[in-house]
């Protein structure tokens, strides 16, 4: 059985919060199943998650996670803490373990703005539901290693927001360069990776126009090296 798989997603901390981004490709074996899939989801006002693995179960987990957090907030009258949300997602990943043996892997990357600590936080998971906090950046999916290599070379503590966004998009570009499962910017169809900013003010989508202009600059630099 082959099901669509979603591929490189990453998160980078910057001075005021976190940038979370992902490519748009889903593959089914050697075929491209979907060119416009969204892998970065807003979960609530202060958190977002990105997914890698079998697309269907991944999207379902994101949707269920959204409902769980909203439900808690409405019943209790207050939001869960950032830590609480991260733990809840860990339990959901753990509950999915039997499906992993059937080949349906769901791997989330969770970012949240912790209002109490006044900082952005990144959490990664393993298949058994283990939850690990990352201090600077992380990437998962088939191109995750390539993206991490790029981020390792260029990451600095206390990056400014535009620089963190640029680094995120560069890492995705390099991942797409080396990994068949990851989609780069599709200039013909006008499909670009998506990114969200998580900070004290909540979650903001980075506009497609902004992402396009960053890629225009990046591609121009690459092209100049070739000639």
């Amino acid at each position: 059985m082959t099901v669509p798989h979603a591929t490189t997603v990453l998160a980078i901390k910057y001075q005021q919060g976190v940038v979370i981004a992902g490519d748009r490709r889903a593959t089914e074996g050697f075929q491209i199943a979907e060119r416009r899939i969204e892998k970065v989801f807003k979960i609530d006002d202060y958190s977002a998650m990105a997914i890698a693995g079998a697309a269907g179960p991944c999207i379902e987990m994101a949707k269920l996670f959204q409902v769980e957090l909203e439900h808690y907030e409405k019943i209790e009258g207050v939001q869960l803490s950032c830590e609480g949300k991260a733990n809840k997602l860990g339990q959901m990943v753990k509950a999915n373990l039997p499906m992993v043996f059937q080949g349906l892997v769901v791997m989330p990357l969770y970012v949240g703005y912790d209002l109490k600590r006044a900082e952005g936080r990144i959490f990664k998971y393993d298949l058994a539901g283990g939850r690990y906090e990352e201090s600077d950046y992380h990437a998962i999916g088939s191109g995750g290693k390539d993206a991490r290599n790029t981020m390792r070379e260029h990451f600095l503590r206390g990056l400014a927001e535009p620089d963190a966004l640029k680094l995120a998009l560069l890492a995705l570009y390099n991942a797409a360069d080396d990994d068949v499962g990851t989609g780069g910017p599709d200039l013909v169809r006008g499909i670009y990776p998506t990114a969200k900013i998580v900070n004290e003010r909540g979650i903001t989508d980075v506009s497609e126009q902004q992402i396009r202009s960053i890629y225009d600059g990046l591609i121009a630099t690459r092209r100049s090296k070739e000639t």
Binding site: K63, L64, V67, E70, H71, K74, I75, G77
Partner: protein, 228 residues
Amino acid sequence: MPLPYYVSPEQMMQDKAEYAKKGIAKGRSIIAIEYVNGILLVAENPSASLHKISEIYDSIAFAGAGKYSEFENLRKAGIRHADLKGFMYSREDVTARSLANGYSQSLGTIFSQEQKPLEVEILVVQVGHNGHANEMYRISFDGSIIDERTFAVIGGKSEAVQALLKEKGLTQPPELREALSLCIASLEQIGSQKLSLETLEVAVLDRTREGRRFRRLSPADTKPLLAP
């Protein structure tokens, strides 16, 4: 074994209704009123943490008068119903009408079958968007359901407040500030005492918001609204 006394069904229902009404009238009133951009809910509530008004879903809010523990249970059941339905089908399939029907069913069953009826009166309101009208349902302790227009009042001296609001003869939905001062004036007149903003629980269902349209207004939000 002694025979139980015979009580006619009419008498039993009347007793239960009287009991419930007494419990509800002890509390204070809650008003829901339509304003230009949605629905405003105002409750007299000295507690800042035990809410009488709550969000149920994207454009649906709940208000309960009477016994806190009883309407709190109803509120939670409503949220569960809405979240489950929204997850199973789609967010747009969660409606105040179906929720109000559910409440009406369970309140009716409890009223006729249990020893003690619930001493609650609840409001389920939904703000309409994309040209749809607002919906306001008032549900009583016996499960009777009333579809209200323009405004709805529950709890305390609700009939007096209702009569007072009716007198104003609202033809157009007022601005938010107007609606709020109207509610406060009515509550003050019926309770014959001045109310401070700290003792009011205020919330709106604002149709200009995206997604979740419910928003609480703290005294810090309402103060500038009421400033001349």
